[in-house]
Symmetry: C2
Subunit: 402 residues, 2 copies
């Protein structure tokens, strides 16, 4: 193949697989089980091409036949499915207060997850690399799979990143990480290819689509310690020129608003992000458990209070939600998506409070109504970023090689 130069692919939105083999694998994976005829419809390839490609995938042990479909008046369809045990990938999501690991099989299912306390604010990058390497190895060992089947590791952390140099740059609570090429270090340490992405973008890749209609353009609104978003087009994430697209946390929603760590003022994250919500709750005298509890853990405590009837906690969260609704409106206006998914650790606990408020604003904004944008909550919010990191690795070129 090789029709499009590397140079012209640089923005990283990875224009749909030029590769028919990858297209078939993707189609089977997202469908669960399909027949060859259905694949011809989904992919636009001809029946003979599907036959050939599928045969090779079966020969390579990546796809299995899975029984017969029911007849519709003729020969019944032979169903195909991804051979889940063919390959595995690891996804790792690092933030200050938690470190999440997932092991994902070739079908895209999570076969193991592990959530650990984060390394904290003052962590030494080299020690974190060492810890992640050790724990990744342990995860693989305990799962009992053949380590040689692990394709690679997707690593995500809060953005922004400098993607071309593959280096984290100025994350909120980790300034001493600036310039540290963590994924390269992980590659060296583990002997596996590693991919670096920001958490929100990965979350967009990790969201399972459970809507009725076809969704080819969707976005994730991601809230962890910060607020971000990711855009997915036909299964490929859009990363922008420097890998920092979707920084909805740092759009200005209030002229003269509060100072943000990013240097700007009035940022959505500074006004309504988890850190601010926690600070407000503490100021209001809410009991969030240990005073050392910070970040998403403290935020979750507020959400639990609100859900058990604390009206002060609820008011604080509803205020935050009204600002996030504004961010959601910006996402739909800028990206024109069919679906917006709320995801990330913060939404995992507080999502039910945020969802209706955000839905209401999207539906009442004119363009939202005109184009019928759906807003849903991701039930896997806590692991979304790690899963997304794994799935991005799963969709890489090497994942389909024999």
């Amino acid at each position: 193949m090789q029709q499009v130069s590397d140079a012209s692919r640089s923005p990283g939105y990875d224009p749909a697989p030029t590769n028919s083999r990858a297209l078939i694998v993707d189609s089977i994976r997202s469908a669960g089980t399909v027949s060859r005829v259905e694949l011809t419809q989904i992919t636009g390839l001809t029946a003979p091409s599907v036959t050939t490609l599928v045969r090779r995938l079966i020969d390579d042990g990546l796809v299995d036949e899975a029984g017969r479909g029911s007849s519709t008046g003729g020969k019944p369809r032979t169903m195909l499915r991804i051979r889940a045990a063919a390959r595995y990938v690891v996804g790792v999501h690092l933030s200050a207060d938690s470190l999440t690991y997932v092991l994902v099989d070739y079908a895209g299912a999570v076969v193991a997850r592990w959530r650990r306390a984060g390394p904290g604010e003052d962590s030494d990058p080299e020690q974190v690399v060492e810890r992640i390497a050790t724990e990744t190895t342990e995860l693989i060992e305990r799962s009992g799979i053949d380590p040689s089947l692990v394709l690679g590791l997707g690593f995500v952390c809060p953005g922004p990143l400098i993607r071309n140099r593959g280096v984290t740059s100025a994350p909120p609570s980790m300034t001493h990480w600036v310039g540290f090429p963590i994924h390269r270090r992980l590659e060296e340490r583990l002997g596996l290819p590693a991919l670096l992405e920001n958490d929100a973008t990965a979350a967009a890749a990790g969201t399972r689509l459970t809507t009725s209609h076809d969704v080819s353009v969707m976005a994730a609104l991601f809230m962890s310690e910060g607020i971000g978003s990711g855009l997915r087009l036909n299964g490929n994430v859009y990363q922008g020129a420097h890998g920092n697209a979707g920084e909805v946390g740092h759009i200005c929603v209030q002229i003269g608003g509060p100072q943000c760590w990013c240097g700007s003022t009035g940022c959505l994250e500074a006004i309504a992000g988890p850190a601010t919500v926690v600070a407000k709750a503490r100021a209001a005298g809410l009991d969030l458990g240990s005073p050392r509890r910070t970040g998403v853990a403290a935020f979750a405590a507020i959400a639990r209070l609100a859900l058990t009837g604390d009206s002060r906690a609820e008011a604080i969260l509803r205020d935050s939600a009204s600002w996030l609704a504004l961010g959601a409106q910006t996402i739909t206006n800028m990206y024109d998506v069919q679906l917006l998914v709320l995801t990330g650790p913060a939404f995992a606990v507080a999502g039910t409070i945020y969802l209706p408020i955000i839905q209401e604003r999207i539906l009442s904004s004119a363009f939202g109504r005109a184009v019928d944008t759906e807003v849903v909550l991701d039930e896997r919010g806590h692991d979304a970023a790690a899963i997304g990191a794994a799935l991005m690795m799963l969709r890489s070129e090497r994942a389909i090689s024999a």
Copy 2:
């Protein structure tokens, strides 16, 4: 070819040409003159492939050899260039107060332009189709080119659109146009393929890149009667699920802000758009010429006052600019572009007032500084949308057929 199904291409961001022939044509067009060796580098194709493809393009009369480059120690390069007179396309930009036509040759250069008064607010769609058809025919005739060389017509108007149905929907001052399939009617009337796009998106396609470094991800901030933006990735515009991406005019920049025609409140366009600027200027007692002067014409009058030293006019425009800077910041945060171009009729006159204010905000926002986003003014702002419409047609499949 046909590797990727129509279904999977639906979002309309048209992943870089799968077609090598189109890739070569695009590369030559954007380079001006290039040699075959350079094409191998730009396109990633091998030398023999370039030879073959270029020979066919020359045989088909789409490309010419254009002398020798200087030798670098061996055989000098044979330079290639697009045969400008091979084909032509027409671009039409309709807004309430102006109707702009451009005739663009196969090299992408504007060979004729024509600006006429717009049809006004109460125009009858069928009459406008008739008028555009007549004037398009006249434009082609007066230019003296062979009408059979005209490939098609790109038509743009203020968004939002319903792209799949190819129908304009609820533009600000043209509600009675809702549901009118103008490009289909133009196709019937002119016997030429026509393409419908919103003005801001087309403007992104029409911006000439004159920056030093390679720009693969850029956006246009477009101001005409309304405010919009367009995103361009490797020469392909991103249109979103329904063709309404980039609606930066309707992001909320002020909670509880003024009512917008779109139904929402606090929209950038309602606060700082040309209509509001004109209303403020009239309220301040500024003389904008005829009281019947509206839209961009009235806005231009204010800009001229400001540029000739009227401090009230300047203050009003600077206030508008500070809000647009906010919109620009949102664009760079969401899209992560390398370049942001201010374009459109409103910037054509007032751009020099807006540019420094917008630049200042982009450069002072943390991510802007980190990633070095450039902000420039398009010198062809007035025609950008029409030119972009033409160029989009020029990049269509049929434009490279023999």
